[in-house]
């Protein structure tokens, strides 16, 4: 990895902030290790190759795998990267470092509380469990500690956002006419999206699930808690993804030897995610009775619009690395690919993650289509899809990004770059095997989330292989992924013993087309926040009103049919949605 003499590292320039980032990464990587262990246990268990847990504990392990990897690992890494990005791009420390430490402490406390509730499920002496999986809506109920931990964790993330907005406001007072630096813009827009998205989960947990778990209320409306969960459950996907985008847009072109192709396009992409991430969650509920088909159709349409920022990203990132390759002497229509720094694990990991993300996008389109979704709903196809997106595009980018960030945060070289390169390539190969097997299994209707799907003796006569071969692929892929995780963690652990040295600092170059080439309105965060809220209201007011009108806030669930709006349900909607709004307006007036 080329370094630039005279450039201080982040750790040199901002030692306290670097310490915060390292602590966030430490929690993230502990979660990664435990979550990966839970993953390989499941992969070997459900394929009946190695069973070290009773099947009754399968859901505890599955919940641990899901929560640790998609909440703790991803979001702790996110706050670390965002703290690094906001500090370095604004060249400004947080207003109060004690506040920064406080939100990180809150997030850690919340994670421990939630993790303890989950692990209690396998300790027979403790009368508590939280086998509710990552999708923690009713009717499954967890111990109150699980929900309380989530509340503390999410409040921690909100305060992290407050910290970054305060840092930006301080910067803006001193630079009133300047455009928001790109990395800071990415952090702030992502947090706006997060604030909007977490409204759903906050209402669900605070008003329904936690009181229900504590025994304050007897029952909740399962459809309502599902809908509120997915209000949050889809945009959280972009919360995981956008830090990976930040690394693809701002770090990857530098490693490739070039510069970001277009700063304006990057801003447009992040604005589109603010606008479109949340009003799509109902596409996870195509099979739910009680929600009219029209609302599902609107969610599908919005979801398809989300392909646009992903396609823009594919274009911009590839253009940026092509520019880098040509700066390094690459020529020809595709010959420039040979000039890229493939020996650099940071670059290769991010490039392979991007490649896998393309495949994940294709399977995501199948999930998003109302008609085709019915074929794959609740089958192993769905985990096959999100192991390509969050499991590779996000996780592999985070690991590869760590290889680049590590010297900046510690002033130490990585222990072994060849091991790091092998690790990212192993992840790619392992995921290809596992995800392929999951997708194919799903097409044949093999369910997800079960410890006993052996289908022994069953044969798919019209296609290749059979269930046994798919199981071998899945188990082999899962094992390779676990080995890759161990290589990553041990490489980092050994890196701690490397001597500190100077001269490891690196700068990020300006974009080829900078912010001056885009309209200033792109930086109007209040405008985009307002439009995003309006879109969310348009997408959710009627469905939520309809659910409440149909079965009440705490009802046992409404009637499944009709699946379209009727005059009766519209009358109910008026009572639930329109009348309170009119009364509120009268009070205001």
């Amino acid at each position: 990895m080329a370094t630039e003499a005279g450039t201080p590292t982040f750790a040199n320039k901002y030692p306290e902030e670097a310490s915060i980032v390292r602590r966030a990464f430490l929690v993230a990587f502990i979660a990664l290790g435990v979550g990966a262990l839970a993953g390989v246990i499941q992969a070997l268990h459900r394929t009946n190759i190695l069973r070290i847990i009773p099947s009754a504990d399968y859901y505890t392990v599955l919940t641990l795998h899901g929560v640790l990897l998609v909440i703790v690992f991803t979001i702790f890494f996110l706050v670390g990267v965002f703290q690094w990005a906001i500090t370095r791009s604004l060249e400004r420390s947080p207003p109060n470092i004690t506040f920064t430490k406080a939100w990180l402490g809150l997030m850690s406390l919340g994670s421990v509380m939630t993790g303890a509730a989950i692990v209690s499920g396998v300790i027979s002496e403790v009368d508590a469990s939280a086998d509710v999986l990552f999708t923690f809506y009713a009717p499954l109920q967890a111990h109150p500690l699980f929900y309380a931990g989530l509340v503390v964790f999410i409040v921690g993330t909100w305060l992290a956002g407050v910290d970054w907005f305060r840092t930006w406001l301080g910067w803006r007072r001193e630079h009133p006419d300047e455009r928001i630096p790109l990395q800071a813009f990415m952090v702030l827009t992502t947090m706006i999206m997060w604030y909007i998205a977490t409204i759903g989960v906050a209402v669900s947990v605070l008003f329904f699930l936690l009181p229900w778990s504590l025994g304050f209320i007897d029952q909740v409306n399962p459809l309502l808690t599902r809908t509120l969960f997915w209000f949050f459950g889809h945009p959280v996907v972009y919360f995981w993804l956008l830090p990976a985008y930040l690394l693809w847009y701002t770090v990857m072109p530098k490693i490739a030897g070039g510069r970001l192709f277009s700063d304006p396009l990057a801003r447009v992409v992040f604005v589109l995610f603010v606008l479109l991430s949340t009003p799509v969650g109902i596409h996870h509920q195509y099979m739910d009775p009680g929600i009219a088909q029209g609302f599902k159709f609107i969610a599908m349409t919005n979801t398809m619009f989300l392909l646009l920022p992903s396609l823009l990203t594919a274009f911009t990132v590839v253009a940026s690395i092509e520019h880098g390759a040509r700066q390094r002497g690459g020529t020809g229509l595709l010959g420039w690919l040979r000039a890229l720094p493939w020996r650099d694990p940071a670059f290769t990991g991010m490039a392979l993650a991007g490649l896998m993300f393309a495949a994940g996008g294709f399977s995501g389109m199948v999930n998003a289509g109302m008609n085709i979704n019915y074929l794959v709903h609740n089958t192993l196809w769905v985990p096959g899809h999100f192991h390509l997106t969050v499991g590779t595009a996000v996780a592999l980018t985070f690991m590869a990004g760590t290889y680049w960030l590590w010297p900046q945060l510690t002033n130490r070289r990585l222990y072994s770059r060849p091991i790091a390169l092998a690790q990212v390539v192993l992840w790619f190969g392992g995921m290809a095997l596992m995800s392929n097997a999951m997708h194919v299994s799903g097409l044949f209707g093999i369910p997800r989330r079960t410890a006993e799907p052996q289908y022994q003796g069953f044969d798919f006569a019209t296609t290749f292989g059979g269930v046994s071969e798919l199981n071998i692929q899945l188990a082999l892929g899962g094992t390779l992924l676990f080995v890759s995780t161990l290589l990553f963690l041990s490489n980092l652990a050994l890196s701690l013993a490397q001597p500190t040295r100077s001269g490891l600092g690196q700068q990020l170059p300006a974009a080829l087309s900078g912010p001056e080439d885009s309209p200033r309105v792109l930086d109007n965060l209040a405008l985009w926040s307002g439009i995003a809220v309006v879109l969310v209201v348009l997408a959710y007011a009627l469905p939520l009103g309809s659910i409440i009108a149909d079965s009440g806030l705490l009802g046992p669930g409404g009637t499944a049919y009709p699946a379209v709006l009727t005059p009766d349900s519209l009358a109910g909607l008026q009572a639930v949605v329109a009348d309170p709004v009119v009364r509120a307006l009268e009070v205001v007036a």
């Binding site: 030897g257 040509r326 700066q327 390094r328 002497g329 690459g330 690919l337 040979r338 000039a339 890229l340 720094p341 493939w342 020996r343 650099d344 290769t348 490039a351 392979l352 490649l355 390169l421 390539v425 790619f428 190969g429 290809a432 095997l433 392929n436 194919v440 097409l443 019209t462 296609t463 290749f464 292989g465 071969e469 080829l512």
Partner: protein, 71 residues
């Protein structure tokens, strides 16, 4: 825009190309099975893939080495 620098070509690219090639070969079997109903036995098929992709990689490396020697 900075000046062009001399070509930097690495064997890391060869490793990645081989792995990506093998994954594409592997996925081609899925396509053959699911779209065309052609059953290909996994072990001989993948061994053939290793031979084909390996041969292509060696060819690419030889081409690159001779190109570097000329220039």
């Amino acid at each position: 825009m900075s000046d062009r620098r001399p070509p930097v070509r690495t064997r890391g690219g060869l490793l990645v190309a081989v792995v990506v090639g093998l994954v594409l070969w592997f996925e081609a079997r899925t396509v053959a099975g699911m779209f065309f109903g052609v059953t290909l036995p996994p072990v001989p098929y993948m061994l053939a893939g290793v031979v084909v992709v390996g041969a292509l990689a060696i060819l690419a490396d030889v081409t690159r080495t001779s190109h570097s020697a000329r220039s």
